[in-house]
Each structure stands twice: as C-alpha cells, then as structure tokens.
Amino acid sequence: MKVKTYEEINERIRKGEAVVVTAEEIIDIVEEKGIKKAAKEVDVVTTGTFAPMCSSGAFINFKNSKPKIKAQKVWLNGINTYAGLAAADIYLGVTELPDEDLLNKVFPGNFKYGGGHVIEDLVAGKHIKLKAISYGTDCYPKKEIETVIDIKSVNQAILTNPRNAYQNYNVAINKYSDRNIYTYMGILKPNIGNANYCSAGQLSPLLNDPFYKTIGIGTRIFLGGGEGYVYWEGTQHNPYVKRGPNGVVRAPAGTIAVVGDLKGMSPEWLKGTSITGYGVTLTIGIGIPIPILSEDIVKYTAVKDEDIYTQIVDYSKDYPNGVNKSYGEVNYKQLRDGYIEIEGKQVPTGALSSYKKAREIAEILKRRIKKGRFELTKPVKSLSSGE
C-alpha cells in the first residue's frame, strides 16, 4: 500500500520535519510499532557501506599546457592512466599500478601505491605529478610535459564507477591449498583457517531495497563524503540469483554504476587500498536514502542480519577455475559474531567491509537529510529487477 510520495517527503525535508532513521534503527521501530505504523511515521531510511570497490575510477580534465599537447599517454604519480580520449581528458582506474611495480615477482607483492591511492591523495588536496607524452600535431605541437596538478587546478575530476555497492557478496575460504592464499578477499589460511566476507549486511544499500523499487537511475546518494548519483545499473548487475522468502538475494546480485564530483569529496571516505598478493584498489563510502513510499518498502528496510544469507565459496580452487559451488549458507549475524561453522569446524571470520564506517555513513546521511541539506530524487528509470 502506498503511503507517501517523493514530493511529500521532500516537502517535509525542506521544512526540517522529515522523520529519518538508519537501516539499523528501522529494525526496532518495525518490531515495536508494526509495519503499518512505521510506514506512516518514517519518511526515509538511510543505508551505508564502506568497502573496496575495484570497478572505480575518475575522469580528469587537466589544464592544457602552452603550447598545447594532445596527451597520448599520461601518468599521475607514476601511475598509468587511460588517455585515449580528447587532448586533456584521462581516466584513472583505481587498480592501476606503477609500470615499475614488482607486482607478484616477490610473492606476495605488497602493492603499496596505485590508482586508488592517487585518488585519495588528489581528494586530500595533495600535489600530484603529471607526465604526458605525445607525437605532436599541427594543432597540438607539444610532445612532452611534466607538471604538477591538484584537485583545485584541474578543470574537472569526476569519480565514475561502473560497478559499486554489490548487493550481497561471497564468503571466501581456502579449502584446498596447503598454504596461505592471497586474494581480493584478503589472506585466506589453509584448512579453512578463516572466512572473509565483504558486505555491510543489514546496513547495505541494495540489501534494503532488494527489488530496486527506489534505487534507480538518477538516485542521489552519499558518495565518498560528497554527493553523487546512480547513473546506470552496474556491470555484472544480475537480479536473477536465488532469493529468500523476504526477497533478499542469497548470493552476489545487483550492482550500481555511480558518478559524482571528486571536488566535493573527502579522503576519509575514499581510501587507497593495498591488498597483499593481489593489488591496489579504492575503498569507497556510499550511502543511499530509501524513501518510505509504501508498506512493502518499510518491510524491506527492516531486514536483519540474521535474515540475510550468503554462500561460502572456495577461493583456492573453485573460484579461480570458474567452478560455481557453495560450501554452505551463512547469515550476516553469524559472520559478524566472529565464527561460522563450516564442515563441522568453527572458523573465525574477518571482513573487508567496515561495519563501523557503514554505520557512520548512515548517520551522516541521516543528519544531512534532517537538516534539509539533502533532498531525495525519484529515479528516471528503474534498474532491471527480474520481477
């Protein structure tokens, strides 16, 4: 049943009257008051997540030199960028590494600095060394430049991430290798010595909107401390995975593509990340407000960690070989309590996603909305939901 519209919610936000709670707080509210009352009383539920998101990067347009250069290859702090665009446009991917990095030659490599770190440094206001080379044309004669840029001196710096905020993710284990393995899910000890997960569970944006009823193209979000938008469904978006009776996906499913102005973001919410033996990436803070338009929606946002399940996947043999096999299902309450049972063994858990930071993001977004500084947008198009 419909209870309110975007316009009504925004009107209340503008007046400073909106009732905004986090995705943790709504759980108790629904338990106490029931779905009907909660849907009437609450206007917005805020979510959050803070985790490494490898499919991310930034478009940067730097001020051209005099004489001008049609930059063909460009490095920022020694990190290669993609320059196959107009003269002074580049795309800096977060997993890019310096050309001279030892990579995994001394195994496991430690990958101290890469694209994600350049973005963190840029947002922190640091000076970044730019080197560009070209072949020279009549309109762009310069063949090489070396200069220094920073976030203020560039014309644009636009965080543009083709895939973020995965709706649920695997729990990773090492079942078959007799040594530590080094994966994007962290270090996994032999004999299922640990199990690593990466989701904010009950706080995670897409787990609170399992059928993408409110999160769609054009949704305004908290991105890297500033503001951003969902611009498309993310790459690998897959709404067709199996779901629980509550509609919640039981394996990695939906994703979103997001964009926002780096100039308004903060290094606290964009962190260069070094994953031993694997590479570099960027850890990103994302928060998405969910408008309580109906009773269904409030019910979805009240989802609890114990009702969100995911699959245990082996990263020593199955995952690398594309074998799709589960070693059991666990929920996020068990994961966050510190131990899960796999094949009769108590296995300690660790996470790559920070629940503490996810909680902070949901709180910040809540404050911004309550103060009237953040209004909600109605998506111009929905993500495919498979419904």
Binding site: F50, A51, P52, P108, N110, K112, G186, I187, K189, G193, N194, A195, N196, K271, T273, S274, I275, T276, G277, T283, R336, D337, G338, P348, T349, G350, A351, L352, S353, S354, Y355, K356, K357, R359
Partner: protein, 135 residues
Amino acid sequence: MIKKRVVLTFPHEIVSQPVVYHLVKDYNLMINILRARVTPQEQGRLVVEISGRKKELETGMNYLAELNIDIQPLAQDIKWHESKCVHCTACIPHCPTNAIFLNRDTMKVSFDKQKCIACELCIPACPYQAIEIVI
C-alpha cells in the same frame, strides 16, 4: 618476580639441546614461548617471555650466554595507527593472541600492546598499512 622478553639466537650445534627444559628445571624460570623457528642445519631463533626471581633470572641468562646463545631484548615493536584503521576486521582472524581485537557492539577495532607478541601476521592482512613494525 620480574619479566623479560628476549630473542634468543642459537648456534646450530645447540639447537638439539633441551635448553628451555634446563631453564625451567635448574633455574626455576617460567618460559612462555612467543615464537620459535628452529630449522636443522640452521641456527634457531626463539622469542620468549621469561619470568622468575631476579637472581635466578640472572643465573639463567648466564647459563644461556655460556652456551654461546645470543640474547637480545625484544626490540621489535608493533604500532597500530588508529587514524589509518578503518575497522574493517580483516586482521582479526590472523592475530593469535587477540592483541588486535574487535568490540562487537561498536564494531570498533582496538589494539592491546601488552598482548602483542610481534608475530607480524596482521601486517600483510591490513589493506590500509595501518599496522607497522618499528625496529
């Protein structure tokens, strides 16, 4: 009663001798082995916490010195940079002593230096270079 954390380096001819046994039996010392790496043909390294009476600890140390065992205070120090920590918990399953630990209500990670045995297992597990070894 005093306590000392030391790194013992054994020449390889000593590796096969029950040195720790003698420290316990003859000198009445309590030995807590924090780390051990003894490989045949090579020298051995033992990181131990020794506690006992002052006098016995001294004579115990003399016994080790006579065996040509090198004794160094445990100078390695693990530093956890709170400002760099994002409280992800990736390090938690790697710490054998709970020196780095998680409060599951606040989901905040903290570090208890007293419990740390400088095994360094947490260092590669941290994606944010928040843990560092200071030598």
